[in-house]
């Protein structure tokens, strides 16, 4: 039961990451591979607020989202000038830079030692048990999903889809597409930060190794498998890719090998999807 709860919480965290990344990759057509960076900044900001400043979890969460939003805004200003594969490459570069900062700014993040003893949320209710945390993270997924649903159905969302199909045509109609790209990028990063806050307070320990480029690749695999430009697809993708590798655990492989096999499965997933079903399971848009 404990184990199932654990898997369900992880699934919810990746569902949030998937839905939020889909707003950028699926709806706006920008192949961002920096999502783990914002997930990490959110996690670290929350962890630092909780352990050093001892403020309430929900205030720390808000702090995490705001700080991540500001950093995403600065990164987005640079990123919005690129498109296509250059966008993918530069965003990957930003993930590497953020990872280096988390690893090397030891005064703030304790570097490779990580940050232990992050408390569980407490506000009116006590969320220290896993079951109550499960409910909290489920509520997060619902809120994020509803916000995303609203965004993509709004006129703002229609402009995003139009940018994906033909950015120049949208510019001709007088839209400043860079503002739109920047706005959705910051919103998506803020959502990733919320997932990071949940992760930090659930695991109670974080270190930079959770926020590498490979983690960004994993989140990309989640949304590409589930289907781009379909929010339910991202949730399905998170469900499959979080649970599927657990089968390897029962197959009796040692820990280190199971971790590598997981990577292998994600990689093969990407190859076969690109070869045979580039729109993913429920996708409405192909890269």
């Amino acid at each position: 039961m404990e184990y199932l709860t654990h898997l369900a919480i992880l699934f919810f965290i990746y569902a949030i990451l998937g839905v939020s990344l889909n707003l950028v990759v699926g709806y706006t057509g920008l192949l961002s591979s920096a999502h783990a960076a914002f997930y990490g900044i959110g996690a670290y900001a929350t962890a630092i607020a909780l352990t050093s400043l001892h403020i309430n979890f929900f205030l720390s969460l808000a702090a995490g989202i705001i700080i991540t939003g500001i950093i995403a805004f600065l990164i987005g200003i640079v990123l919005s000038r690129f498109r296509g594969d250059y966008y993918a490459l530069v965003s990957l570069g930003f993930n590497v830079i953020v990872y280096s900062v988390l690893l090397n700014w030891q005064g703030l993040t304790r570097g490779p030692l990580g940050m232990p003893g992050i408390p569980r949320p407490e506000f009116v209710f006590d969320f220290s048990s896993n079951i109550s945390f499960l409910i909290l993270s489920f509520l997060f997924v619902i809120v994020i999903y509803i916000i995303s649903r609203f965004l993509v159905a709004s006129s703002f969302g229609r402009v995003l889809k139009a940018i994906r199909e033909d950015e120049q045509a949208v510019q001709v109609f007088g839209y400043n597409t860079n503002y739109y790209k920047l706005a959705i990028f910051v919103i998506s990063a803020g959502m990733a930060a919320a997932a990071g806050s949940l992760f930090a307070s659930y695991i109670t320990f974080i270190d930079p190794s959770s926020f590498t480029v490979m983690e960004s690749v994993f989140i990309l695999a989640v949304i590409i498998l589930g289907g781009l430009s379909n929010l339910r697809g991202s949730i399905l993708g998170a469900f499959i890719l979080v649970l599927l590798p657990e089968a390897l655990r029962f197959a009796g492989f040692p820990q280190a090998i199971a971790a590598q096999m997981r990577q292998m499965v994600y990689g093969l997933c990407l190859i076969f999807l690109m070869l045979f079903r580039p729109q993913g399971l429920l996708g409405e848009y192909k890269l």
Partner: protein, 288 residues
């Protein structure tokens, strides 16, 4: 003064390794026009082939190195035939190819780690008791000298092939316009396969040299790949000479950068350089 000459030597050696990565990457990018991220993992394949042959099978060093280069090339050729060629035939966007190459990179790296563990290994047979040369206060090992010389030789060889042979002319034709090249009777699929072999073999060689200089690890591919990509872009993507210039510029900036800030920032410095270039001079030092 001593530190400056040592830093200069380090920069040149780093530049030579990045040159090897950038040469292959540029060559492949020129014909297929997508960022082939699988290029990082073929370097790892080269390094581990040598590790396996010299360590477990006790084979001669030079023979193993030749085999490593060959297998790296073969791996690149195989990736093209199995994954990229079917995708190109369907005229997919370069983003699909990029994601597929990311998949190849991730899974191949994981497979290597399953067989050889993720531990750091040295190819060390030569590094014990090797000759050390000094130049005006800085020192350079024999391996590093080999890196330098072979890097230059490969660059010269490659430019000769590109400029003087029919094969080279065919590559240039595909660079300019693959569609028209096919119309005038160039077998583009075959040439592209060969380009994948050559480019990947050069990357495999880089992986082997890194193995002798410092050591190998399954995860080293990403670092090597990114350095090659960054060097290619700041030099002017698709331009062989530009790639070499970019590699040495990157080597110098990185090594002189860590003079003032801690060494762990190397990767970040490299990306700052890339982003700076993309903002100020996106076409690179030398335009195609």
């Amino acid at each position: 003064m001593e530190i400056i000459s040592q830093l200069t030597l380090n920069s040149i050696i780093a530049g030579a390794i990045y040159t090897l990565m950038a040469l292959g990457f540029n060559l492949i990018y020129g014909v297929v026009k997508f960022f082939n991220l699988a290029h990082g993992v073929v370097a790892v394949i080269g390094g581990y082939t040598v590790f396996l042959l010299t360590g477990a099978l006790g084979l001669n060093l030079y023979l193993s190195a030749a085999a490593g280069v060959f297998f790296a090339g073969l791996a690149g050729y195989g990736f093209d035939k199995l994954v990229f060629l079917p995708l190109r035939r369907r005229k997919t966007s370069s983003m699909v190819l990029l994601v597929a190459s990311l998949g190849v990179f991730t899974s191949a790296q994981a497979i290597i780690a399953i067989f050889f563990t993720s531990e750091f290994r040295t190819l060390g047979a030569v590094s014990a008791g090797e000759n050390i040369y000094s130049f005006s206060g800085g020192v350079i090992t024999q391996t590093q000298l080999i890196i330098l010389i072979s890097g230059m030789l490969i660059m010269l060889g490659l430019t000769t092939v590109l400029n003087r042979t029919i094969f080279g002319k065919a590559i240039k034709a595909i660079n300019d316009d693959a569609e028209v090249a096919r119309i005038v009777g160039i077998d583009t699929d075959r040439i592209t396969g060969h380009v994948f072999f050559i480019g990947s073999a050069i990357a495999g060689f880089a992986g082997i040299l890194v193995g002798f200089d410092t050591g190998i690890q399954p995860t080293m591919g990403m670092g090597l790949l990114l350095k090659g990509v960054i060097a290619s872009i700041i030099g002017g993507v698709g331009n062989i000479y530009g790639g070499v210039l970019g590699s040495f510029l990157l080597g110098f900036v990185e090594n002189f950068g860590i003079w003032k800030v801690p060494g762990e920032w190397k990767e970040a410095i490299a990306f700052f350089l890339l982003i700076l270039f993309l903002l100020v001079r996106p076409e690179g030092i030398m335009k195609r």
